[in-house]
Symmetry: C2
Subunit: 172 residues, 2 copies
């Protein structure tokens, strides 16, 4: 399974593609951060982000896109931009016919560190180790996007195994 993880943001949007399956080695395919200038018009920023995400989907051909679930309770000052960047990622994936899954930050942290309240350095350290990278991915948004992708590889795989287990019980 190849997953594109998106840590949504207007100023910095983390993008990370990971290939793997539950219980097997994870392979980092690509990771970077898409930036749009803070001084630009919101319409230009959202359109530039859309083009970047569409380019990633065309280039890396993910099977699924995992986007961080945004909550309105968090930082009110930046939440609108984050929500709108997430909307662009979700719509671009849906337009390309790809399934979209949302994971909360604590699901992602719990998946990669075992602790739903882990801090950013801990997440980055585990992402670096799990993907066998020589240097930590920077900025933190990139590491977060990779963490999202890893989270989905593992949770998606786990859901699939539970499903298979249920099928066996039913057919036994």
């Amino acid at each position: 399974m190849r997953v594109l993880g998106v840590d949504p943001g207007l100023t910095r949007c983390g993008l990370g593609v990971v290939e793997g399956a539950a219980g097997r080695k994870l392979t980092p395919i690509a990771y970077d951060v898409a930036r749009t200038p803070a001084g630009d018009d919101i319409a230009l920023r959202l359109l530039a982000l859309e083009r970047e995400i569409e380019q990633w989907i065309r280039t890396h051909k993910p099977d699924v896109v995992a986007v961080e679930r945004v909550f309105a309770q968090h930082n009110v000052r930046t939440v609108m931009g984050t929500a709108q960047a997430a909307a662009v990622a979700i719509t671009s994936a849906a337009r390309a016919g790809l399934p979209v899954v949302l994971h909360t930050p604590s699901e992602v942290k719990a998946a990669v560190t075992g602790n739903g309240r882990a801090d950013k350095p801990q997440v980055t350290a585990m992402v670096t180790r799990l993907l066998g990278l020589d240097t930590a991915p920077k900025p933190a948004d990139t590491a977060d996007a990779l963490a999202l992708a890893i989270c989905h590889v593992w949770r998606g795989g786990m859901q699939q195994r539970l499903q298979e287990a249920r099928m066996k019980v039913v057919s036994a």
Copy 2:
């Protein structure tokens, strides 16, 4: 000037097209509400809304798209959906090469009723009168979209006349 006004929302997104110029008669071209099922996946809802807005742009060929500016401070429970619907409208307009303008709810209310704190029935009554409609546009989201379009026709026109006045002063 032909303006498409968008009152963003996931469950109900108001759409209204008005043609006019400051100081001249306003003509209602089309108005309706785009709905997406509350039970559907967010990706399907955003994609359905995008297709509807793209269809309106193709059919009614507006010169500009006016979208209500969303604030995070307002209803926290629905603000995420509203922000994401606004992102879809903004991005669809930008993708079609159209300028996008944002107006706050109080700018819109002040433009059509003279009072930035007017209530919904007052806005609907003025929209109905200004556009010479036989019956009030329903639901309120539709009237709000038309009010946004009227607001932009007038404010856009006013900005243009101020600009022209400045040019005359400079060239005098």
